[in-house]
Amino acid sequence: METLRPVDTSPETPETRLQQRVFAPMLHTERAFYVWIGFLLAVIALGAVAYYFQARDGLFVTGMRDRIMWGLYIALFVVFIGASMAGTFVSAILRIAKAEWRGPIVRGAEIMTVAALVTAAFFVFLDMGRPDRALNIVMFGRWESPLVWDVYGLTTYLAGSMVYLYLAMIPDLAIVRDEVGDKLSGPRAFLVRKFAVAWVFERSQMAQLGAALAVMTIIMIPVAVMMHTVTSWIFGMTLREPWNNPMFGIFFVVGAVYSGIGLIVILMAVMRKVYRLEEFITDRHFLNLGYMLAAAAGVMVFFNVSDFVTLGYKLSADATFNLDQMVSGELAPVFWIYIWAGLLLPIAVIVIPRTRTIPGIVAAAVAANIGMFLERYFIVVGGLRVPLNPYEPANYAPSWVEWSLMAAGISLFLLMVTLMLKFLPNMAMWEIHEQTEHAGAPIEQAKALEAGA
């Protein structure tokens, strides 16, 4: 039987070193892992306490009231929908562009998409006044409602992302089955065997997988764009001043790409440190993603300038109120941190050669994500604050319940990512093999490329 399986098993090839790195978290559990999981569960438990009060006393325990009726929960829903852009979309773009450096980062990114979508749904659930009636959306769902579009979008994107994650993982599961299958516990070995679907690295299997992945890649890009457009339309379909904006869809898509790339950078830095992947996740990955991050930030700046110039020039009554509250009013701190730290700082860090280092790019990614969180917050709260009747504008501040559940939601996200990275092959070994197959010394080749670039 002709096989494309890499057979070189001498201890010191990059391939075996890669496999050792990938197998390590699957086979050994360090003490730090339990501490981390315990910490996340403790935060989630705090959130459960907060939710107990919310379920007992109603949303009265939050800071939301009738004039600002959506707050932190909906902002975080948008944040996690944005985070879900990271994985599948970026990985699909890199696969289509045949970016040969994608291997070590696509798996983590795809895992992040799945976790982020589940967390986004979690925050919608928190925001419901009658979560016991959640099934009404299925039983009485009206397709005319943008909220239902989002339900369709989220389920489609989640299902597609899981299929995409799984397809690209089959060869890796087979490698796990063959190399360390006997070292896994019974049920896990069974699951790995089942999900590796008799994969034997045959040429025909590779061809089929390649075709399936190509189709999924093409499908997932428009689905991801749809997901973020539809999320923006929840706001864009209303008559509220700053949301009543035809640009909102594309604005959300770019925002999601921006924060999503930032999240991949952060995830890469953490994986590199925790799993000691310095050999595989190199400067090159950070540089490439850093450039993408700066480019996305540039587009965000463009959108913001375009928005402010076109509205600020005409200064209609509602637009004036909105600009005032952002530039010098209640939301000014949030707005200016977003502009300076969230958009301009990451561009500067990546443009200036002295700061264009791994710590610099990771810092830029963190700033980008904080900035984008603030942006989603002022989009939701600022939009609701503009008064449409002759009343004084209301104010909103999240309560301790909302902050606790925010911490719990983020912990839930991190818990899902941590568990998937531990129990699944955390890097696409076969793609890294494939990319390096024709070059005898992959790492040397990568280094040469880097030196050239």
Binding site: D57, G58, L59, F60, T62, M64, R65, D66, R67, I68, M69, W70, D127, M128, G129, R130, P131, R133, A134, N136, I137, M139, F140, G141, R142, E144, S145, P146, L147, V148, V151, I234, M237, T238, L239, R240, A317, L384, L388, N389, P390, Y391, E392, A394
Partner: protein, 248 residues
Amino acid sequence: MPKYGMVIDLEKCVGCRACMVACKVENNTPEANYWMYVFRTEEREYPDTKVTFLPRPCQHCDNAPCVKVCPVGARFKREDGLVATDWERCIGCRYCEVACPYGVNSFNYADPKKNQYLDWSDADIESATGGAVPGYANPDLDRKSQLEGRKIAGSNHTKGVVEKCTFCVQKVEKGQNPACAETCPVFAITFGDLDDPESAASRKLKASKTFQLLDDWNTKPRVHYVGTPPGEGAREIERPKTRQTGGV
């Protein structure tokens, strides 16, 4: 099928807010929720101040933004022109509240307290009443509507659902006028079938120069106003003591 509507004469309105009280009594709305709300606004500075009043019930729009966005069809448009809420289906997402430009929706952030305006368990009061708590609910509110057999009248105030003015559907279906229109001491509120040219509301509408709130958004409200709207820069004289301002 009649198409109901309301004509509110701002030139007659004296801002007494009797309609707000009548609405609360009729519909037993929870503390701090006002389905009918009378804005009292002032313009300019003393001594040139001009005071205006603007009663604002639900506008029962024909092109209702809230109906469009409701994900479960709990908010719907009736054949007779009323925009109704099915309290038993609402999931509490508050999207209707976000979409409505008039701010007529109230969300029950907490479970409404019964007998909220008097503590009937207070020792002094109990000695006078002998422990009896007067009935407060209008039995009509618990009936299902005639048109579609759903619970849309103002009973069943529970936490976690959105409520708003129903045009007193329980009275309208019996051929009566909404509580606010019945109560207004200066007959500023006229309710009736706008498709019937002989109804009082139609005649009032025809005889006067009217405007609609935020009509450039083409929501097609079924509430028409006679007189002049509050001008640019109108300020609310006093803020209502409601949940949205923090003090219950």
